[in-house]
Amino acid sequence: MKLVLVLFGAAIGLWAAAPDCLSCHEDKTAAKDSIHGALGCNGCHADIQAFPHPEKQTKVNCSTCHAGGAAELAKSVHGGPTGPSCTSCHGDAHSILPAKDPKSATNAANLPRTCAGCHGNAETAKASGAPQVYAIYMDSIHGFALTKQGLLVAASCSSCHGSHGILSHRNAASKTFRTNIPATCGACHGGPLQAYTAGIHGQKLAAGAANAPVCISCHTAHQITRVDTASWQMKTTATCGGCHKNQFTTYRDTFHAQVSALGYDQVARCWDCHGFHDTLPASDPKSTVSAANRIQTCSKCHPGANAGFVKYDPHANARDGKDYPALHVASIFMNLLLAGVLGFFALHTILWFFRSRTGSK
């Protein structure tokens, strides 16, 4: 309390002296409108106590007041002598505005451009391991909503990465460390987080599985697009198939996949049957593909699906003689039939051709 009173007293006293500073430094008049306007010039330029002042001053130290931010920054990826200074992000020292001011460099809507000051630069972007990050973010649903539509609820850089205390995604304390990502995204996407946590992917992550997918495994980090577009949905089978390779292969043998490959989007892809955030293994009675729920799931597209119908296996594998003996035998039979008939008649045709050419007698 005492400190505040002292600062306040100093501020009043100093602004009385301010016109003196501005009479020389008239280009700094705007400082009065900045968030720091009330502090007066030597609120920051603390070593100047009288006029004339020495030619050289010590560098303004923001951490005198902003100790917390400075400490976080020091430990972050941006810390150290080569890292950005306070003004790199907050803008010109004399016209710093509070983040909620739409004109502030750190306002959510302006932040992508502010960060792009370095990360939009091809070399920096490459050095930080995320080339194109600015461009792809701006095309993402977050970037579009925030910067084109002005929807301030959309994720800006700091929503996921934090601000002063940005840590590498390899650092276990980082908001973008793999196991922390569901909580980071879930800060806004509460419903999906709840569903994900209940689903097998969330369960596996909680159990410490190294290969359990998190939000960005399927949605990507910076490139996130609307999930209700056909163009995104057409890619999802390959996304799931990236991990579920066998299921992807067997799916591709089915009519569902054939139709999908022709660009028709009104056809079952992985999540139409399995769900997505709360997906569960078929052995779980709550799963959409459990024995008890299968009729209901298939009925979404196939009205009249019945107990016999759901015995159809959307992942049947003709190459697997152990689990699919009938299909396997049918496959071998068809292959032999094709090879036999075509081979036999190919020979017949070739012989006939040469015999005919030598004359029909």
Binding site: N306, T349, L351
Partner: protein, 277 residues
């Protein structure tokens, strides 16, 4: 246009109804292949282009089902007609004998005889109305329509069929439908085309299936056994027909050439897609 006065006689081999059914089979089969191949090879860019050309998947499936229904009607008409002729008109010759499609001992003898002829080990066999390869053609298509048709309808009305057969049969249905269709496409567009049209004796095309008639020379050369028998029992006179008029020949050439060309294009696409599958 002095064909009428030439000495060569023409004889009727196929009735108008049979010729029309063959044209219907050509159109529906080409339609089914055109719309079925993109589904079977849906990841191949050529086939995807073909599907886009037809109008996307919705149109592909619509035309596939449309042609399937039309071909089913052809099949039913053919079988019903054959049954009618046997049961009502008592034409038992359709079931057994030289005029029947049912294989008999002579076909096996002809096959081995033809093999000997291929290898210059014997004379050319005297074929009857239907040579053994004609019967193979016929029964391949007959079997194919049954297998592909049944598996197709089972998938089309999956939830209905699943009341009587286990759903896992639908997996087998798709496999058989696709593989049998590839066999049909490959067989028709190579073996049938060669046996009937493209082999040196008939090149480039045997028009009989379109005009319905063949010349005396063709008759004697291709079906000597039938010719001799009909000549002996007096049946030949009844088959004498006027030569095919120019419009009929032109139509036959156009329709036949278009069908063969379409088939060969699809054959190339199938082979390319199959090899990269």
């Amino acid at each position: 246009m002095t064909d009428v006065n030439t000495e060569e006689h023409y004889y009727l081999r196929f009735s108008l109804a049979q010729r029309l059914l063959h044209i219907a089979i050509i159109i529906t089969f080409l339609g089914l292949a055109l719309t079925g191949l993109p589904l079977r090879f849906s990841t191949h860019p050529w086939m995807q282009g073909l599907a886009r050309g037809v109008g996307g998947f919705g149109a592909v499936l619509f035309f596939h089902k449309f042609c399937a229904l039309a071909l089913t009607i052809v099949f039913v008409v053919h079988v019903a007609n054959a049954a009618w002729r046997v049961v009502v008109h008592k034409e038992y010759g359709l079931i057994w004998g030289p005029r029947s499609m049912v294989p008999r001992l002579k076909d096996i003898q002809d096959f081995f005889g033809n093999m000997k002829w291929f290898l210059h080990l014997g004379p050319k066999p005297k074929f009857d109305r239907f040579a053994y390869w004609d019967k193979v053609d016929y029964w391949a298509v007959f079997w194919g329509m049954g297998i592909i048709g049944f598996s197709g309808y089972a998938m089309w009305f999956g939830s209905f069929f699943a009341r009587f057969i286990p759903g896992s049969w639908l997996n087998i249905a798709l496999l058989i439908h696709g593989e049998e269709a590839i066999l049909a496409v490959a067989f028709i567009f190579t073996i049938h085309f060669f046996n009937t049209h493209l082999r040196p004796e008939n090149f480039p095309m045997d028009l009989t299936i379109f005009t319905g008639r063949l010349s005396e020379e063709e008759f004697k050369r291709m079906h000597p056994e039938e010719f001799d028998r009909l000549k002996a029992n007096g049946g030949l006179e009844k088959l004498i027909a006027p030569p095919p008029p120019p419009w009929m020949k032109n139509f036959s050439w156009s329709a036949g050439a278009a069908a063969v060309a379409a088939g060969l294009v699809m054959l190339v696409m199938t082979v390319v897609a199959f090899l990269s599958d």
